[in-house]
Symmetry: C2
Subunit: 376 residues, 2 copies
Amino acid sequence: MRARLSTRSSAPVRQSSVRAHNLALVLHTVANNADRPSRAAVAATTGLTRATVSALVDDLIAGGLLTEVGPAPRTGAGRPAVGLVLGDTPAALGLEINVDYLAACVVDLTGAVRQRFVERADQRPADPGQALTALGGLAARARAGAEADGLILAGAALAVPGLVTEDGLVRVAPNLGWQDVDAPALLRGAPALADLPIAVDNEANLAALGELRVTGGDPTFLYVSGEVGIGAGLVLGGELYRGVRGWSGEIGHLTVFPDGRLCRCGARGCLEQYAGQEALADDEQLAASALGIALAAVVNLLDVPVIVLGGAYAPVFERLRDGIGTELRQRVLTAGLAPAELRPAALGADAAMRGAADAIIRGVRDDPADWLRRAG
Amino acid sequence: MRARLSTRSSAPVRQSSVRAHNLALVLHTVANNADRPSRAAVAATTGLTRATVSALVDDLIAGGLLTEVGPAPRTGAGRPAVGLVLGDTPAALGLEINVDYLAACVVDLTGAVRQRFVERADQRPADPGQALTALGGLAARARAGAEADGLILAGAALAVPGLVTEDGLVRVAPNLGWQDVDAPALLRGAPALADLPIAVDNEANLAALGELRVTGGDPTFLYVSGEVGIGAGLVLGGELYRGVRGWSGEIGHLTVFPDGRLCRCGARGCLEQYAGQEALADDEQLAASALGIALAAVVNLLDVPVIVLGGAYAPVFERLRDGIGTELRQRVLTAGLAPAELRPAALGADAAMRGAADAIIRGVRDDPADWLRRAG
DNA sequence: CCAAATAATTCAACCAATAAACAAATCCAC
DNA sequence: GTGGATTTGTTTATTGGTTGAATTATTTGG
């Protein structure tokens, strides 16, 4: 298979882009190979020559993204290989604000959590400035701990339960009572964050990214997060799909019973009224079949082979499975050909925060050349 | 903005990939610029140097993909520019089989229809072999006409109302009564098609691609085609989204009334029962609100800003608009922030056939280097 | 008729990957 | 143990593709 450069991008490509791509390719290859591959092994799996791989690896080692480790146990004749593993810098700061807690963590390049702070407190009475200042405090502690470990931070990302525009503006976060909050600007007020690039995204989107990291396998799935509301993160071909304005995944307001219960959004019969946290506590079987109807819609529309249930759904997954499955079997046209797989989320309550840090790490892994340039 | 090579592709990139990308970039730039740009103008808009553009243009002219035309009317001092326009080779064969007709057309590189043949006849009694042989006959006439015009064909694509796998196998086409039909193999039986690459895809998917060409603007929209069943083609960021197994877009089986009418798929309350061709003839307002409920689900889930109604919906669009719009305003969470736009399809009954030819043309435009090599 | 301006081409330099030769470090066989 | 086989990693010349500057070509305007 020939390498295709993304045709849609209307920017010219030069030799440096080739190097950027191949740097990412080598980095990914090492990251996805747990048994300390040698330069030669990387060359074999990527299709690049050993000479090229050596040159690329030199750059990555110089930037701390890769590290040489002692040779693997003897394996036969020949000069012994020197193994490669992912380095730990740069790391990233993952932040989360939700109705009843604030959280911050630092995740290193390998995906390991190196710092973790959670502060339980009802955020609804606080105004956005207060809440984000408090979060800045947590972030400062996490950063200090990370830097004591010798980690350099590449950036920070914040998970918010609401609609977020591309430049990080929180349009609405109904359960926090926020409207049009410039979260990056407020966060930059904290000295510990002033010098970092700051991204903001929807909580379910980022949780989906976190899940993608740990599932490893399937690059296409829907992550559904049952909270007070219901959010969803859609991962298509290994990429988070955010929608044109970044407002995708509002599965909580899919109509399941057109003339049913009135929802706080003004419409009738929204999924949220039948499978939100309150409704779930009230009647699990109703929640399961409502979820099944909505998920069938997603599968019919997008041919998504895997659905991951997180948030409040994860602990009761086994009791929901049958009810959801029944609706899926009945309502998905292709259920007979290849049924969609249903499974509980692997990450717990930390999913969004870890996914946030992961989004930054992903950026570095996907474009190491950019990081090498920035890090000088 | 720096050019990003698609990181996901796990193939190495070499200098020839750079050239392939830049050839496509130049070709697109000329295609999207109606007023005969010069090499210098192309260089300015792409960011490549004039030297590079000249070299690339030479290759494209040699392959017939671009043509030089007389200079544009005087514009000031200086050596007059020689204009560039898209050539007409290669062209592509678009084929369609549907319940009550067969159709074939030839579309040239610019998107112009150069040949068109339609044969009305009920295809349900015919077995797949007979039907595709008849279609092969139409294709032969279209090809002969095109070649008399000096056109070279790059390939053929067939639109089918059913589920199609990646390698062109028709798994099910309920309204034709087909099951597991190897359409490419049967088509290759026709001498006029034996030497062409043949693609097969779902009718709504291809119609959506056809629509993408003519709308020009929005690269993200949902195309909904009302036929006996209801199909949808989803275009995200200028690319058709086919789903993991190629079975996306089954919007006809979204549940709108969970305890409603029994559908031939076995489930209850499918959209098809309320907004399929029969139901539409029966009660337009019911069809509109059912459609509205289903489309609201799509917008909530995917944040799609534009919905195009085609097939049987196009002629009655004005009478459906209000009913659909009411549901969308009520049921889409972000309707207040930025309502989705609703519009009728620009192409008529030919949409799928033209979209099929267009899919081939798109392939050439997106990777002209491959075509130059093949035609070489 | 010459200067200014714009278009397109030519040519040396550069960058990144390749292929092939080479050096290093081990195993294995005698 | 000593020499050949084997595998890793580096070095070097070559190739393909873009760049930038200089050059040539062709027009308008004074």
